[in-house]
């Protein structure tokens, strides 16, 4: 079976002034239906690895395959398209567009993809928000939502184009334990019931414990993986 994400020897070196190695020779595979947590101390390169896995950044060396397709030769436009169609991101800060309602925020990726009609897009956005317990908040702007609600809207937005891969960068970093639990359960459901590959960078022991596997990083390397 093809892994949803397969990385071989990923290395990322910043060469602006003195070369700085952010990621060094990282290899990993994440299957569909699996939830993986990447843990490690601050500055060890967790987020940098996530940006590489999500095609936001280009590796200096190594190969990354998304659903079996190599990505090193992709143009910027193809990488952007792949992100739009196959990868969803959830960040520590919700990063919702403050001027738009919850519904409009969730609609954005679908409208950019243009695969559905306007009505279908609105229906899907409402359904996703409903699914995440935000049925009554669809027309509210982010500043009228609680922290947990905002993060759930961000998850709904990440799922808008039905990506096979969901990447979380400290998705519970700003949440209380009750909302953290909701996010964890949502991620588990997305992995186990909907068959998505979920990768979470986290400091949160609760999230790490809920994952199927944990990869520990130190100084840009994966040093331990269950």
């Amino acid at each position: 079976m093809t892994a949803a994400i397969e990385a071989e020897g990923l290395t990322r070196v910043l060469v602006d002034h003195a070369p700085v190695t952010l990621i060094q020779d990282c290899s990993l595979a994440v299957e569909a239906g699996e939830m993986v947590a990447i843990v490690g101390p601050s500055g060890c390169g967790k987020s940098s690895l996530l940006y590489l896995l999500g095609l936001l950044d280009r590796p200096s060396a190594g190969e990354l395959r998304i659903e079996g397709a190599p990505t090193s030769e992709l143009t910027d436009a193809e990488r952007t398209r792949t992100r739009l169609e196959r990868i969803g991101y959830v960040f520590q800060f919700h990063f919702l567009l403050p001027e738009l309602t919850a519904q409009a925020n969730v609609e954005l990726p679908m409208r950019r993809l243009g695969a559905l009609s306007g009505r279908e897009i609105t229906e899907r956005a409402d359904a996703l928000l409903m699914q995440l317990g935000l049925g009554d908040e669809v027309h509210r702007r982010p500043d009228r939502l609680s922290g947990g609600q905002r993060q759930r809207v961000a998850i709904a937005r990440a799922l808008a184009n039905n990506p096979k891969i969901l990447l979380g960068d400290e998705p519970t970093g700003n949440l209380d334990s009750a909302n953290t639990q909701i996010v964890i359960e949502t991620f588990q459901k997305l992995a186990h019931e909907e068959g998505r590959a979920v990768v979470c960078v986290t400091h949160d022991a609760q999230v790490a414990a809920a994952a199927d596997r944990r990869l520990s990083m130190l100084d840009g390397r994966i040093v331990d993986g269950e």
């Binding site: 910027d76 800060f93 950019r112 306007g118």
Partner: protein, 418 residues
């Protein structure tokens, strides 16, 4: 189209949250477009009015009994290519006047929609009550000349047609008549250089203050063609043909074509007024430079608004890029912001400019005691030009920060935010 609507939605949302800055930028464009319309309306209006006066006041083409270059020596034609140099040749005295002018007149009238009239012009001396004055007498056919130019509009005390009723009639300028103490109905003693003397009665005066038409000058006088031929002792001779054509803009081309056929100098109104037309071009360049500067200043508002928006929305840019929006999408989004300000500003500017033009049209101005109505160009071309210029300025102003937004690396921002 769907992507455009998405970007438009986000751009509008950005503008709505920065109400004051958006309003200032929009007002800047509106004022710029308004003054563009007012200034260009006045300048182009006065220019069109001036050119119209130039065109209508005199024949579109004047054929003169002269040539642009002296005629070639026969020896040069007899021995083409030979090393011949001829110096100090005494030119042969040519009999002045247009040869075969009826055929020339017929050719001029063959131009579609053309009116052509023969004329004999020459210098005379006019005497009245012991005073004499030099005059340039134009012997014309009054019926045709009246259709060729708007001289009729400048006349007081009589009409051009009166020359037909009185073959000894003459029209002189009012300033000259005032200087000589002569009035309509008085008789001048007119003598030509050939020696002929004729008593001519003033049937009308051309008045420079009659702004409806073009004033040829204090020393220009009009008489009947037959009378001029007798006075100059040149029966059946004409030395000018005046032509008016349907499309004045074609005068240059028609004159060049007929000049090549006939050899005589066919002078279009454009050629006669070349210096003035060149001056108008310079005037237009200055005008559009000033108006362009106004719009450029207005576009600084857009630049500031979009630039601040880009700075404030760096996180939004990063998340949009992470979501799958391209750099070009981001650039387009901020361009749309500038464009929206430009379009809304232009619409308000149209309204403001229309009000300004309306105020100018009804301004209680006077010139030499007479009410003056400003010639204004309120045609759609001015609105189109003002709108297009403001949109171009808006796009350029928005493009600079938009390009910067497109080049933002989302990873840098996400790292900074994390």
């Amino acid at each position: 189209m769907i992507v455009f609507r998405v970007l438009l939605g986000v751009a509008l949302a950005h503008l709505q949250v920065r109400v004051r800055q958006t309003l200032v930028a929009t007002l800047g464009v509106a004022v710029g477009v308004g003054f563009f319309l007012a200034v260009s309306g006045m300048m182009v209006g006065s220019q069109n009015d001036f050119i119209r006066t130039l065109i209508d006041s005199a024949p579109h083409i004047i054929v003169r009994d002269e040539q642009r270059n002296a005629s070639r020596q026969p020896a040069l034609d007899a021995f083409p290519g030979a090393a011949i140099a001829i110096h100090h040749v005494r030119p042969q005295d040519e009999v002045r006047g247009l040869k075969d002018w009826p055929a020339l007149l017929a050719d001029a009238r063959a131009i579609p929609g053309a009116i052509a009239a023969p004329s004999l012009n020459g210098g005379v001396s006019a005497g009245f009550a012991g005073r004499t004055a030099p005059l340039a007498l134009n012997g014309v056919d009054p019926r045709l000349e009246g259709r060729l130019t708007n001289i009729e509009d400048t006349l007081v005390g009589g009409r051009l047609q009166d020359l037909e009723a009185r073959p000894d009639g003459i029209i002189i300028s009012k300033p000259l008549a005032d200087r000589m103490g002569a009035h309509v109905g008085d008789t001048l003693v007119v003598s030509a250089s050939a020696g002929a003397v004729q008593r001519m009665r003033i049937v009308a005066l051309s008045d420079p203050s009659a702004r409806a038409g073009f004033y040829a000058g204090d020393t220009t006088a009009y008489g009947l063609l037959r009378t001029a031929q007798v006075l100059f002792a040149r029966p059946n001779i004409v030395n000018q043909i005046h032509v008016k054509i349907a499309d004045p803009q074609q005068a240059d081309a028609a004159a060049a074509q007929l000049e090549a056929r006939w050899g005589y100098k066919w002078e279009s109104w454009q050629e006669r007024s070349r210096d003035i037309l060149n001056l108008l071009v310079v005037r237009n360049i200055i005008m559009y430079a000033v108006i362009g500067a106004i719009l450029m200043v207005a576009s600084f508002g857009i630049y500031t608004a979009v630039s601040n928006s880009v700075t404030d929305k760096r996180r939004d840019i990063a998340i949009l890029r992470a979501m799958g929006f391209t750099g070009r999408d981001v650039e387009g989004m901020f361009l749309i912001e500038g464009l929206v300000v430009g379009v809304v500003g232009a619409v308000f500017g149209f309204a403001f400019g229309t009000l300004l033009l309306e105020a100018l049209a009804h301004a209680p101005l006077t010139l030499q005691g007479k009410p003056l109505s400003l010639p204004l160009d309120r045609g759609p071309s001015q609105y189109f030009l003002a709108g297009a210029s403001s949109l171009a300025a808006a796009l350029v102003a928005a493009w600079l920060p938009a390009r910067k937004a497109a080049s933002v690396d989302p990873v840098d921002i996400l790292r900074g935010a994390a």
